[in-house]
């Protein structure tokens, strides 16, 4: 790659990683990860627990040194320029990591001093953040006594106090209810609209679906990456929905077929993923003795969960 190429890439991408790997002893947590995150987008890491999401984020923030591979984040080469990068990024940890025995305001003041805001900047920025994140009323409350949703809003406010160009969120909504989650994502889109690039890791499908682009991780390997829509369209399987009685029995029989990738029950239906190589999926399933002719079969639109299952090769769910 020529210099001019990489420069233009660095202008376009907030994160540019090539063949990024990290070993912990015998365990490979992240394996040859190629990653390009466009500026001003929300990029998602979707994967089960232990799939390397947190390790990947720590590599990209410069907290961990990669075993091999190249990383460029916001024009900083890692790990050499990790200290320079730290002023430009925000990081919201998986667990609430602000001080429980300080008030909301004291926590924010602490972080703003750490990032070197002057007293005047601090005052204006704090009142702005408190109102944006609906924490004005709680500003004198101890952080430890707040609800999950309030804590999460505080953590986000603290992570963006220095207006980072790039924001890392590690499973940000694991401790909050759906209503708070919705509001939280509204905040993220506002930030994105103001020019922030956001990288968020999650194991919730609905959350992943909100991202502009998505990488599916499993065992430290990137299985797929694209926009959620494209992932669903280009899925290597077709989804057949079966409505019948005795679904548990049917499922046990169908998953024995080599063409069937997985089968999962959703209430009164069975969702069967059939390999794309099979041109007549309905006919194939209909032939099975466990299904009656009266049973209804239909090809339906794939969901992100179907994509996830077909990519990660977990097979039977």
């Amino acid at each position: 790659m020529s210099t001019s190429d990489s420069n233009s890439n660095n202008d376009k991408f907030a994160i540019n990683a090539e063949k990024l790997s990290k070993d912990f002893g015998a365990l490979t947590a992240v394996s040859a990860l190629d990653l390009q995150v466009e500026k001003q987008t929300i990029y998602g890491f979707l994967g089960p627990n232990g799939s390397g999401k947190t390790t990947a984020i720590r590599l990209l923030t410069g907290l961990l040194k990669p075993t091999s591979g190249q990383v460029n984040v916001l024009g900083c080469h890692l790990p050499q320029e990790a200290n320079k990068l730290r002023l430009k990024i925000g990081y919201m940890t998986q667990k609430f990591s602000l001080y429980d025995d300080l008030t909301v305001k004291e926590n924010l003041q602490f972080i703003s001093r750490i990032y070197g805001l002057t007293a005047n900047e601090q005052k204006a920025r704090l009142s702005e953040l408190l109102s944006t994140h609906q924490l004005t009323q709680q500003s004198k409350q101890l952080a430890g006594s707040m609800s999950g949703g309030q804590k999460q809003r505080l953590a986000l406010a603290a992570a963006v106090i220095h207006r980072p160009k790039l924001l890392f969120l590690d499973e940000p909504t694991s401790a909050v209810d759906p209503q708070n989650r919705r509001e939280f994502w509204e905040q993220l889109f506002d930030l994105c609209d103001q020019g922030t690039t956001i990288l968020v890791s999650t194991h919730y499908m609905d959350e992943a679906e909100r991202c502009h682009k998505l990488a599916i991780l499993e065992n430290g390997i990137k299985r797929a990456d694209d926009s959620p829509q494209a992932l669903m369209n280009n899925m290597a399987a077709q989804v057949v929905e079966v409505a019948a009685n005795n679904l548990r029995h049917i499922k046990d029989n169908l998953i024995k077929l080599p063409q069937v990738i997985s089968a999962a029950q959703l209430g009164t239906h069975l969702r069967v993923l059939v390999s794309k190589n099979e041109s007549q999926p309905i006919a194939l399933l209909q032939q099975q003795p466990c299904l009656k002719l009266t049973d209804k079969l239909a090809i339906v639109r794939p969901s992100l969960e179907d994509v996830f299952v077909s990519c990660t090769g977990q097979g039977v769910v």
């Binding site: 907290l63 940890t93 603290a158």
Partner: protein
């Protein structure tokens, strides 16, 4: 540089806020020096007095009773029990009823008149019985301090027993006791207590400092910020310097007003020596904090440092009396150097510059420790 100071300031303010919310710790800052000073200053006494002892009086004469009175007049022992036989007396020592027994033989009066200290001149050495001691002590020798005190009675003068003028021999040496002529233990203990209490509280506070951030999950956030590890270390120890100064003021102030500990040296000298020791102790705590994985572990390591700081530093026993390897260990402890400095300044008004070795040692220890702590505390996680 300016942002670096701002970051240190942020940590200091945060620590002070957290400390002010932690009422228990805040109370300990005052109570630990107060209670320990009162306790130790009253309790620790190396001059043994009023040891409970028994007597077996085979003679039962007025002379034997006068002998008992003379011995108890020294104040070192108190006769609490009387036994009829040596066997019963020994059983009493076995059961810790008394620490020693005075056995007065039946022929005590004959022995006494022939005793050289009574003043009839030296008897001829051929007559063995004339040089026999007047009576015998049976002592529980397991406690060397008590045994030593009673051994001190061996040569007590007996002349006044016989209404003769005290026959004072000219001593071989004349002894002049400087700095503590009344030989009060408290004069030596109070300045030493400064070292022990500071060792305890200072190391305890900071040894938990980094571990606590890790245990509560705050470290994960701190490492993503531009905060450098040295800034974190300095910010962490700074508030405790003031706490250390408060504690020193309590101990020395009470020592001066309550126990009449003389205050011979200059305040500035004392402040410099104390600051150096506080910094050295805080840094030692930080090093522990980067090694320990939990607050419990850091507490155990604090005790591991605290015990030798009490026993080997010269606080309890004279440094010079210890075997060489123990002296080397003591030499490595900041408390040893500080005890020398503080006793020198408070009791003897020595200029600290004359004890520059101890000063330099504390400075070196602080710098080295801070470096070790900052290096050990890794900014990256791998």
């Amino acid at each position: 540089m300016k942002t670096s100071l701002l970051r240190i300031q942020a940590i200091v303010i945060k620590e002070l806020l957290q400390l002010s919310r932690d009422k228990m710790t805040f109370g300990m800052v005052i109570m630990i020096p107060l209670v320990q000073l009162l306790l130790f200053a009253f309790a620790i006494n190396t001059n043994v007095r009023n040891i409970p002892v028994g007597v077996v009086d085979h003679s039962q004469t007025s002379l034997s009773r006068v002998l008992q009175q003379t011995v108890s007049a020294t104040g070192i022992i108190t006769f609490t029990h009387s036994y009829h036989s040596v066997k019963a007396a020994q059983a009493a020592i076995d059961s810790s009823e008394v620490r020693a027994v005075l056995i007065i033989p039946a022929d005590v009066s004959q022995r006494l008149v022939r005793h050289p200290s009574v003043g009839f001149g030296l008897p001829p050495s051929s007559k063995q019985e004339t040089s026999r001691p007047v009576a015998q002590w049976l002592v529980d020798g397991s406690d060397t301090v008590i045994a030593g005190a009673i051994k001190g009675l061996r040569n007590m003068p007996l002349a006044e027993l016989l209404d003769k003028p005290a026959n004072r021999n000219t001593p071989t040496f004349e002894v002049t006791l400087l700095y503590n002529p009344e030989q009060r233990s408290v004069v030596n203990i109070v300045p030493g207590l400064v070292a022990v209490i500071l060792t305890m509280t200072m190391i305890m506070f900071t040894s938990a400092a980094i571990v606590r951030e890790q245990e509560r999950g705050n470290m994960e956030m701190l490492i993503t910020t531009p905060l450098a590890s040295l800034e974190l270390m300095i910010g962490k120890i700074f508030p405790y310097i003031f706490i250390g100064i408060i504690q020193v003021s309590i101990i020395l102030g009470l020592g001066y007003w309550l126990f009449d500990v003389p205050f011979n040296g200059g305040l500035a000298q004392l402040a410099v020596a104390t600051l150096l020791f506080i910094c050295a102790s805080l840094v030692l705590g930080l090093v522990i904090s980067t090694i320990a994985k939990s607050q419990l572990q850091s507490m155990q390591m604090t005790v591991f440092i605290l015990l030798p700081s009490i026993l080997l530093s010269g606080f309890m026993f004279p440094y010079e009396g210890m075997p060489l390897p123990a002296q080397y260990i003591a030499e490595a402890l900041p408390a040893t150097h500080f005890i020398r400095l503080v006793r020198g300044v408070v009791l003897r008004d020595v200029a600290i510059l004359e004890m520059s070795f101890d000063m330099l040692w504390l400075i070196g220890f602080t710098c080295f420790g801070l470096l070790v702590a900052a290096l050990r505390f890794k900014k990256t996680l791998d």
